[in-house]
Amino acid sequence: MNFLDFEQPIAELEAKIEELRYVDSDSKLNIHDEITKLQKRSKELTESIFSSLSAWQVSQIARHPLRPYTLDYINRLFTDFNELHGDRSFANDPAILTGIARFDGNPVAVVGHQKGRDIKERIYRNYGMPKPEGYRKALRIMQLAERFKLPVLTFIDTSGAYPGIGAEERGQSEAIARNLMAMSGLRTPIIATVIGEGGSGGALAIGVGDKLNMLQYSTYSVISPEGCASILWKNSEKAKDAAEALGVTAQRLQQLDLVDSVINEPLGGAHRDYDQTADGIRTTIKIQLNELNQLGVEALLDSRQKRLRACGFFR
């Protein structure tokens, strides 16, 4: 298990339990009760730490190196997944994964950011930071879904669109903007779920739709806490304050009515139990898909337009 800084007390307790287990196996002393007691304490400790996480701590869980990624959910939520590649004009961007699959027996289109687990895969996936060709591939698949009446399920998990030379040359801005425009009028249901980091325009570019879900410890923000800190505080070490000010957590964003559904994670975060997390996502999407399928296309688009139109606070 990979523990974050603020989880150190839990880590120490878990280490102690491990130690006792080792003793247990080759001694006649009965330490079973002791272990059970410690396990109970570890659970209570985790509960207490996780009941009052700061926005910055949640950001760290959202970026946890063991956190389940899009592919981990694809393997659990879908059958018959067929990955589709390429934007048909420049390249295939591995930072965005697209395909068609069956969800609960019915065909759907899947679009999601994909991060890498080990160094090699991280580089291959460009740390989950898409280039214009990634967004254009996503658009191609979404338009394919529209043509064949497949609902689109997107999974958001990126620190942001890739800030690179080639990405700018090929029109990163235009690629993102085009998706926002196209998704707002796509004639099929779109459900977006933030599973890890929802980083700015790079996240939104596959995030416009009829429902927006967030996993309990995922984040969604206009700018990364570090980026915001270095611009507004002129000090990237103020990221903790920036995370708080930006209100990046699912809980805070739901209070502001910006999120439809917050999906609970297992105690200690999604990485503690992939299956359980996937089950939570499945249940939520199933209900939403049922609801959206009841609407005709015109009613669906009408309600999506109204949602977008209503977004904003002013007087």
Partner: protein
Amino acid sequence: MSWLDKLLPSRIKTNGASRRTVPEGVWTKCDNCNAVLYRAELMRGLEVCPKCSHHMRIGARSRLDGFLDREVRVEIGSDIKPVDKFRFRDSKKYKDRLSSACKETGENDALIVIMGSVKEIPVVAVAFEFDFMGGSMGSVVGEKFVLAVDACIDNDAPLVCFSASGGARMQEALISLFQMAKTSSALAKLSKAGLPYISVLTNPTMGGVSASIASLGDINIAEPNALIGFAGPRVIEQTVRQTLPEGFQKSEFLLEHGNIDMILDRRDMRERIASLLSMLCHSQATSKTGNG
């Protein structure tokens, strides 16, 4: 009084106080070629240096004033004001930033919308006020942009947007990000209504504004030498750890890479946009030399 004062005719007498009453800013300097310029002449030339054609920053109102026909202008959404929903506070409170921006610019927020005409073609024109918090897009900018699109549809008029913005307004957090979707979705409506949208990108157009309304024109026009892009050059340099190519993210670079349709001198903007709109809207030719 000294003997000299007595000798001088009163009309050429000067003293410190009256010297200070000479209106400030009669003369100004070009930030590019350092030429000393007569302020009034510079304003007549839409803040473009007559010596080197450097495009200096122009306020949203002066911009629209120079672009639209004199007669019949209706401002839209001028009474909409921002609120601090997140009670955002960095080194300064958002509320305080808003009130000082308000005082400095005399505007309620960073977008001005005016319905009028250009060379008698009815048009809704919007312009970002960069001096209002870097022309950043929050709820008010988003709402006013949508009102502009609605006005286009109601009046069968095309839309022209002059952008100058650092991007989404961080102080409005996720709500400002969502304005990108809100405004882009309005443009989808405009497009469906068959009305043209001309986007003019001026220095600078970055981040969330570049990645939404500014890049979605039926025709995208840039002013010369404007910085236009998604990520800022400093962030890119830190990420890729290599020197950026010459002229990176400048208008000429974007033209070369196929991201914009043309670069226009600000002083030709009115004429050329009117000409483009007249063709897209199938109205009479606007140019005197035209034979239509």
